[in-house]
Symmetry: D2
Subunit: 338 residues, 4 copies
């Protein structure tokens, strides 16, 4: 950590900063420049907080040198992590192709969709039983009934299932039915939920928050890893921006960016990011070319009758065509969609 | 709701949209223009969802006409709501002046701060016992011990206390000690928490999410109101932006904006918004001049030794000077800081 | 255009709106709903402005139905536009691969880089002679001397050259040396510059402004097209966001988004978007997979000695490796890098 | 400047960085920590660029210590600058109250508005003769005719006039008629325009760009100051954000933020920021309370017939009521509206 002092900081102020550094068990390293005095703080930065120093009179800036996450970092684990969900492996060249409807609506609808996406090459089935909806008057999901339907469809079509959990109290219930937890964008910093899921050993799909930086996402990952659950897959799904013709702005640079900083796999969800079926295929292609470890796509056999977010779903036929192209793109970048 | 069709939509497509509208129990109103065909949908828009229509081939845009919230709207309740917390009233010209440290650290520190902010004119005491921290390695709050300390300080200094609740499981515990729940920015769309708190009748301070629009905030308010809890105060605390010299961007226009759309009181938190003590006083003054129903400020007697976010706290002396100015500004805009 | 009236608008207010519509030569179409009265305005919306209606008392919202651009729209010109720059064609399946240093620094350096990027498959040479720099103290470009060096390098290596023009007064000068004008992000809404360039017939590369929506970009394109210059290529180069680990946020969904709304070709610049050489290759791959009509990449033989923005340049060797991969990706999506 | 090396940087890499620092005429200061090696660079940071160092292999981060602007900085000039426009003084406790229509439309309309805003207490008259419009089909201003009308109204009502200049070629023309140049948000980084205006000595109102940070704005100010024109007033007018119920997001914290970093006066424009007359008065009040050196408000006697942006104008009567309140708020914060 580097502490930069204001131009006219007094000797007493400098002395005070040095004392605080010693008090906290670190070693200061003073350097008086022409225009600014700076103090390097030597020791385990993970135990240091910038805040207390910023509050000392005479301090202008505090510049952290190290990244604030540890277990999630590439330095901690140089090799790519591969997360196993049932027989499916995500990471290290293998792709998690997640597909299914936004919400579980009925056994018949889900069964039909599951069969079609499986045939097209999807290897994980998604479907929401607990739905985070902006409006309290919107369909909130079927709850446990939905979980049962999802599990049955997964077993019939031999696909592990992933579903969202929104409340720490739901964790034991969802754990019984799901092969992979999903933590949605709105809950990326629901720290109690992160801790609860960190205490299980079930795979987790952690979606990026709508205004989370890549570092924020890795800090939330750190919460889960620190509790002992290493089976973590990240998901870029777009962030809030001023652009008003798409639902969110898909930040595909998050894929190589995460891969540089972390060993964790990262997949991309172009459905929620764009909210527009006409843009989803191009963005799915771009995600694979960018090096993503999988793609998460909403598919519905009749989007106009879907109970939630049908307008961001592909038809099964569109999904099958897209998968064809994704397979060929994956090959070019050295990946494999099985 | 207005449905706009694509330029070359076919008669069959138009017919299909009309049928769907009838099926859903609404009345369509077709209007063929030179360049576009549009369909008005007549009936209770609260029961309509834009999404299913967007998914119909031939549909270009769906334009909602009504706001998606109801109980929170000014139309539903034209008079300003006044929320009572203990003897303190927030709204309708009376101001909630909330002050205190970021986190409850010890009885002695809190007691000292409480005495000073009370003397300066604060009427509600804040202090976190459960802290949402970006890093799992940061101080997470004292838990129930912190709640006890907070309650004791509030009683001694005769101030109702407000404290954050992060997890639906904590609601009964926090309810025993607090006079007002705080829902933090990261939990503004933690819908299970909103519902749980909506089922109590205790006053709530709902903070705007970091990437929430004003309408999103009112939709979250709607969750709480729909469960039956009318004692709701909103809080503007800054949103994420590209500006890198402040922690967040304080959107003061949210104050008159909310007041136009809703009857709920709204206060402003310049501490979290700016993260810079040098900017807090000016932003607190601006908030009062903009018509806010209160100001939420972090105060610490020794910010540099605070266990969390000390760098955004004012000293008790600075707070007292500021309160003086706020009182005079409140008078100009027809409000009263008691 | 749809005009929505406030819930309690009076008959006099409604009458007043109807009169104004007639005055402006349009036909109103009144529809009184249960909760809102709405008025459709029939006629050529391009001649209508939303603003005057918003200012009428009783008007709540004005919803435009048509897009505000015309010549740039896909409806106006359903086929893909192909822009010819020298012998290079951009659009309609053919790719503009633009490469070169950020700034022209010397004949020797540029000659070396031009030879290398040409060998790797670039077909257009870039280099700035007039540089828009945030600081007045930074290198501002070599001016006409730089243009001469650029032209000579282009001729020697048989590549058309593209260079930025920042000031309407420079247009005649730059026109003498360049094969394609570049309008930078900071000048996307420099309307006098757009008009001046619209009066030439030389190809233009128009970069998206840092806070421009896709529609804003198409409106700026409309300025150039309306002056009579149809030789226009758009460029996505990232927008401002809260993410602090990349220079800008690359919005790749702009590629299919523009292609849906417009007939104009669009290329992608991952160098300025990310500002990080470690992310450029993945983003270039993603751009091609997303359907871009070209990629714009900064290449420098010694980035650390470059006079501007060296840190976002690839080495010639890295560029050659990347081009190899781009060629194979282009093939998968049905494009050709010659 | 602090250079942070990657964890496993080699001795050769470190040596290479040290050499480059020496080559550039600076003195390096090496410090090997447990986890990172860092190098301080001692000397005039204004002559240093971060970019070349970022491009050296082994370099992880480059942290500038000093602000990149000099003449605009508070350190360079500790006292508040007061800018004189005719007899009006802006800064140092005196307020520039700018009012008038968005565009100059006719002598009669402008004369009426000028008389009314003058009576209400405005001391500077605004009106656009060259209008930057998103659409090429919108009213573009009356040009020189508009300048003449503006000048005549200013003389008749004894108010200096301020008007926008968009093109360096217009500077001599506008200079003949205006008392103060306005540089609009879209031209904040039109560096050729900044330089041209920097070469005059006429006062300038520089508006913040829609995606400019406060530091970017001060860098643009630096361009004008560096050319020799010290008569500079900044203007906060809102930035782009995801909030969709206001036109832009007014960043009032820019007022104290600029005042901390710079000696230049700063005024606030709530009209363009909000685009909503119902929010303008509250935001004008907030601006004054935040310490702004003036307020810029659009006023039109018949907003619904205005040729541009009428919907963001106050009526003269509303303006007069607002001025009354602003006067009393200014007094509380120690300022004077004459």
């Amino acid at each position: 950590m580097i502490i930069v002092l204001r131009p006219k900081s007094t000797d007493a102020q400098i002395e005070h900063v040095l004392e605080r550094i010693h008090e906290l068990g670190f070693k200061p390293h003073l350097s008086r420049g022409e225009l600014r005095t700076i103090i390097g703080v030597i020791g385990d930065e993970n135990k240091l907080q910038a805040e207390p120093f910023l509050a000392i009179p005479g301090v202008e800036q505090v510049l952290p040198i190290l990244k604030p996450f540890k277990l999630a970092s590439r330095e901690f684990n140089p090799a790519d992590t591969v997360v196993q969900v049932g027989r499916v492996r995500i990471g290290g060249g293998e792709m998690g192709m997640i597909a299914g409807p936004c919400a579980v609506e009925s056994a018949a609808i889900l069964d039909a969709i599951a069969g079609q996406v499986k045939a097209a090459g999807a290897n994980l089935l998604r479907g929401g039983a607990f739905k985070p909806r902006t409006s309290p008057y919107s369909f909130q999901g079927l709850g446990e009934e939905g979980l049962k339907i999802l599990r049955a469809a997964g077993q019939k079509h031999d696909m592990p299932v992933v579903t969202e959990v929104m409340d720490p109290r739901q964790v034991p219930l969802v754990q019984r039915y799901a092969d992979m937890f999903q933590i949605g964008a709105r809950n990326m910093q629901n720290f109690d939920l992160l801790k609860e899921i960190g205490q299980t050993r079930k795979p987790v799909l952690l979606k990026r928050g709508m205004s989370a930086t890549v570092k924020d996402m890795l800090m939330s990952a750190e919460y889960i890893l620190a509790e002992g659950n290493p089976n973590l897959v990240l998901c870029e799904r777009g962030v809030r921006s001023f652009e008003d013709s798409t639902r969110n702005m898909l930040d595909l640079s998050a894929v190589p960016n995460v891969k540089g900083m972390s060993h964790l796999p990262i997949i991309v969800d172009p459905s929620h990011a764009t909210g527009r079926p006409d843009l989803i295929p191009a963005m799915a292609c771009a995600a694979v070319a960018a090096g993503a470890d999988g793609v998460h796509i909403e598919v519905h056999s009749c989007p106009e009758k879907a109970l939630s977010d049908g307008h961001q779903a592909l038809l099964p036929k569109q999904y099958a065509e897209l998968m064809d192209r994704l397979r060929r793109l994956a090959e070019v970048v050295g990946k494999k969609i099985s």
